[in-house]
């Protein structure tokens, strides 16, 4: 066997090991109910902003504290705390991907990915909310 072949095999093996170890770091998309089962574990919560509940952000008091209520498609809701600035357009988003973990009664959020509406609606006003690009405001 040529040494080139040995090196190729070793490197490919290394790449495979890297990818296998990567699967250990991967997280999952969860609903609020299933995330509660995994308290303290880092998950991606798919939910939306509960507009009936107050959204609290006051840059005068603390620019690094945002709290709101998230509700998922199953109707469960949870309080979310995000120690960062309020992402722009948050009220307009139709879906949120919240990255973080459940801690006690609330969801401690590390990062928020906003999904803004992208489908055309029948009336021209609603239709204006269709960005071609998804927006993320993260740290």
């Amino acid at each position: 066997m040529k040494k080139t072949h040995i090196i190729i095999l070793v490197l490919i093996a290394a790449a495979i090991v890297v990818l296998i170890s990567y699967t250990g770091d991967l997280t999952t998309y969860e609903t609020i109910e299933s995330a509660r089962q995994k308290e303290g574990k880092f998950v991606n919560l798919i939910a939306k902003l509960d507009k009936t509940q107050p959204l609290e952000y006051d840059a005068v008091k603390n620019p690094n504290y945002l709290t709101f209520t998230a509700v998922d498609t199953l109707g469960n809701s949870i309080k979310v705390v995000y120690h960062n600035n309020k992402p722009t357009d948050m009220e307009k988003s139709e879906r949120l991907v919240l990255k973080g973990k459940i801690q006690g009664d609330h969801f401690e959020c590390k990062d928020i990915l906003l999904k803004c509406p992208s489908k055309y609606k029948d009336d021209p006003k609603a239709m204006q909310q269709q960005p071609e690009m998804n927006k993320e405001v993260s740290n």
């Binding site: 991967l26 998309y29 798919i46 603390n62 120690h83 722009t88 998804n134 405001v137 993260s138």
Partner: protein
Amino acid sequence: MQYLGEHLLPGQAGHFFAVLSLVASLIATIAYFKASRIHLENEKAGWVRMARIAFLVETISVLAMFGILYYIISNHLFEYKYAYNHSDRSLQMEYLLSCFWEGQEGSFMLWSFWHCVLGWVLIWRAKAWEAGVMTVMSFAQFALATMLLGLYIFGVKIGSSPFVLLRNEFDWPILERPDYLSLIKDGTGLNTLLQNYWMVIHPPILFLGFASTIVPFAYAIAGLMSKKHEWVKPSLPWASFSAAVLGTGIMMGAAWAYESLSFGGYWAWDPVENASLVPWLTLIAGLHTNLIYRHSGYSLRPTYFFYIITFSLILYSTFLTRSGVLGDTSVHAFTDLGMNTQLLLFVLVFFVPALFLYFKNYKAIPSIHKEENTYSREFWMFIGSLVLFLSGMVIIAKTSTPVFNKLFGTNIAPPEDPEFAHNQIQIFVAIIIGLLTALTQYLKYKDTPKRFFGKNIWMPTLVAVLISLSISFFGEVAYDKKGPGFLFAIHLAIFAAVYAVVANASYIFLGLKGKLKAAGASVAHVGFGLVLVGILISSAKKTVLSWNTTGVTPLRQEDAKERGNPAGNPAENITLFKGVATDMGRYMVTYVKDTLNERDRKRYYEIKFKAKQGDDSFSLYPDVIKNNKGMEGFAANPAAKHYWHKDIFAYITSFQENSTEDTTSFTNREISVGDTLFYSNGLLILNKVSVNPTEQAGLYQQGETALFLDIAVLSKDGRRYTATPGIAVTGNEFRPIPDTVTAQSLILKFNKVKDEKKGLLEIGIKESGAITDLITLKVYEFPMINVLWLGIVVMVTGFVMSIIQRNRQSKNTLKVAS
């Protein structure tokens, strides 16, 4: 029904040229294919002539479509969906082109345009290879033309046309009125993130990079079909060109992200970024194996493979970014146009036949059975190519998890720290590639005399060790957030990168004896090394300056060391009140004022930075632009102060404007020195009274006697301010000089001295209900980021030098041959 005011001609012409380009590119493909299979000179020339005419028609069609779409957008013909969706009347001229690439159709058109340009260069230069190479090129043009068709064939929609009318696409009631155009006054505008000058030039360059990867691919396919392998010579300058342009395009995207996106950096391992980086890595691998084959006869099979995989990855990245599959993971993918099947077919129609041809001919591709010498350049170059390729595979596999989810119905999400997941692997790639880049040039092809290697390598090694040790010891690279192991890897990588720079720079003198004409590769490698150094230092030493020091936050930092680290630490926003200097680490920062620029519709904020030590003082003008896609929010554009060794980088994360009328009045209170008074949000302490103080000399005139109060204001949240209201007396005239604590919406007035003996004074306190103007700001420092930008310029220069060198060589050999 007759609609009023519509301009239907441009759209009809657009549709016509879309169909014409499809037909012409199909004819060109067939004719070139015929020509490539025929060896009779006369007959071949006939087919080539026909193919060229078809390609000319194709080129004209693409240009015509481009022109028509530009006409539609620049004349604001909102009866067309493309103009309505991607532009509006207020848009500046220079961004009209950006509207093209906001939508998928326009960017396909751009791609197609570059293929035309490259096609004519190939027709001019490729000689015997023209027929084979242009078969592939014309077929790619055919595939792209289907993307712009927008026709239903057997009930299946093929492509998406940019020339469709608004009223045919939507069924809003108003669109049924004959005068609907008079009701649609303006388009929905261009996404504010794209309203940046980088967005005018980054997409064209990137798409030229994308488009140019087809040339090495086409040569490889032509080689496989004709079973001739001499194409490896003309492919070299093309691969260099492609690597230079694609690399520039990627890094222009990084510069755009740095200047315009508020994710606070130039690289985030975003799927869209990865999807364009990976083909670049495999292209570099292919370029190196191509060189190996030219000089030693080894590595022809990998060269074929790398060029095939590069173009296939470009197509795959098109699929990733355009199919909407990245929706949950990427910041800036396109939205789904319902063309996923077609996009997937676009990938497979090139990848599957190419792979089939490759494996069918695998045995017939010449290769040398004798093993490479360990002391040869080709051996280590091959290892480097392999590492680059595998590194690319690892990145693309990680990026493809959304595709994996779609295929297998899983719900795998990115890891907690997706950037680190990449960094912890790629740092070792950087170390290996850095070392190989440094050492390999000192090896000769086939075999290297050990004395030659030893004689030349010790000096650059010593210099690199010294430089990198001094960076390690005095550079304060202390990124300990991910543990000592990763920090050690960073230092090792810094050494490898410095070594690459030093060794390649010295090789120009030691190996090439200062012959700059032949130094293209060395210069490119120096640039690459500088890029690595820049990335390593600016990322490892990136610090948050806007550390929230003003208020008591509910957050407690368990570890003081955590302060320097940007990702894990959330308290990165600092609140600034208009006109109030706020303490921010090494600087006092003041939000001086904001102004709305009518032309670009951006609101610029003047933020004054004044260093506490030394006299460094400057202003930054980050801006926000109101999102014109009907959204309430705004998009923030960062601003940076550039020093030679670092950037101070700031952007606005939120702002509030004072709009409420001030209706409250003063309440009068008694106070004497040392007393404490309460106001709604805290307390006031009168420290002292001073007569004619020099600090306030500007506030009173000569001849006036002025009394000033020194009042400390302590708000509930622990912030501390000073207020100095005063009074100026001339004879019996009193003139109050009030002072405001803007942050607390507090106005203090010194009314009078009530009882001189007891030292009792009266002050007026007014708390206006309105919140003052305020912004929250993030400020980062990126040290040595200029090394990164410089590195890119050097690298591209190196590529250009080697393209010139290759072209000169091929001319010389032609002379010798004739």
